[in-house]
Amino acid sequence: MNNKKRKKYINRKRKEFAWGCLFILPTMTGLIILNIIPIFQTIYQSFFKTGAFGRGNIFVGLTNYKRLILDGAVWQALLNTIKYAIAEVPISIAIALVIAVLLNEKMQGRSIYRAIYFLPMVVAPAAVSMVWKWLFNTEFGLLNHLLESIGLKSVAWISNPAIAIYSIAAVGIWSVIGYNMVLFLAGLQEIPRDYYEAAQIDGANSVQQFFNITVPLISPTMFFVVVTRIIASMQIFDSIFMMIDTSSPALKKTQSLVYLFYRYAFVENNKGYGSAIVTLLLGVIMIITIFQMVIQKKWVHYN
């Protein structure tokens, strides 16, 4: 009897192994070819001086990394990227959370509001960037016209090196609010109503409720949003590529690491140096992610 059961168990185990391998085979094969091998290839390539058309590659050891360490533009780009992330992530999350809380109850026009806030998510970033570039235009743009019409001075939104990165971050915020809001709405729905009712009986006002119930209970969603948004914002490229011309005085103060990577790898055909830059980005993102995993225990409340 016992033996039979054991046999059955082993049999089942074998079957699970076979089916399991079969089921993950397409994904894992694709993943290895498309992602895992390329990671190592990119790192490998960062030790080469690459010739045009993929020919004449020469092993140069750490030369690309030496250049990278001495290249002020790379560190400036890293700083730009971090500035962008610091501006975009917290502000977009804060605004989205407020909107989500406002929308998290039966009210008139709820679905219309939700639809409008989400709208930028379904528009191609290339189009979004063009529209904003036009709104930001120093001479002919709508924004400066509005400023001037109320008697203020016009601003070189995307040409002034001191503010251009924040203008781009504003576009990022505008684009991503809807996405964050939807995730928060889903998270809010999981908070039991009676928590709020109990708090009301205790005499807590809505601001207190927000900070004492909503924020802690939504922290798992918050954690997800923070992690994914930071990773995404560290890879900012589209809007900079589309909005900042090479003749822009703000280029140096806005180009991100990924922008530099694109320029070196595909415009100047220096794929070795491009690889070194993206390897640096990999390192930075890894450090940030590990750091977040460590500190999440401090602030994320799982039920």
């Binding site: 894992m28 002919f140 980005l281």
Partner: protein, 276 residues
Amino acid sequence: MKRNEKILKSMKHVVLILGAVIMLVPFAWMILTAFKTNSEAMQINPFVIFPKEWRTEAFVNVWNKMNFIRLYANTLIMIVIRILCAVLTATMAGYAFGRLKFRGRDFWFALILFQMMVPGQIFIIPQYLMVGKVGMLNTMFSLVFPGLVTAFGTFLMRQAYMGLPKDLEDAATLDGCNIGQTFLYVMMPLTKSSMVALGIFTALFGYKELMWPLIANTEQSTMPLSAALAKIQGQYGSNFPELMAASMIACIPMIVLYLFFQKQFIEGIATSGGKL
């Protein structure tokens, strides 16, 4: 108390409406500019808000300059193939990771998690060289290539399967289903909403991708809309009515789809993050 509540409620609406206006202004400006002439768009004394005459010139011009039918078709084909491949592979793998116990599972799953943390640009040069080596740049193949499998989707589907009750599986096994049948007939139908979510996510991601098509699909005949917009900007510089018209033409299909399937879009995105 009652009055306070009323004030609070209308305050809420004021905030929400203000926000909604900010969200919509860029769209409105895009539409208004697209119907202007170039000199109207670049006139500042006086500044022109509404076009004097609603001209469709800019639309006609860009429509003639770019083969939008082709661009729509390319984008659609890419999205459909990617959805099919990604949903199929991720559902299978998600089931295996979520419900089956087998040796090596945790190792392979760690690989999935690892891929999700890595910046996507690190794959691009080798992917590009691979596609180049087999002579497939500027084809539909190169367009769909990076999106054939999805680590994120696998993760999403695993979460969906992990949330299902165990007794369903046991009942199916008692009925004599093998693992494949259990998956196909019992479990998979229960994750439909996650599959839809993944489909929508894949579609949006493919539609918005820019850098890959910018390097791998540089010919108009196989280019998707996103790269075409970048190309139009590079080509026609600062003729803003035409740029806005092109943006409108490129965005309208997705916006219409979104307005029709709003619920699925929003629930899809919610599922993609909410279940984590």
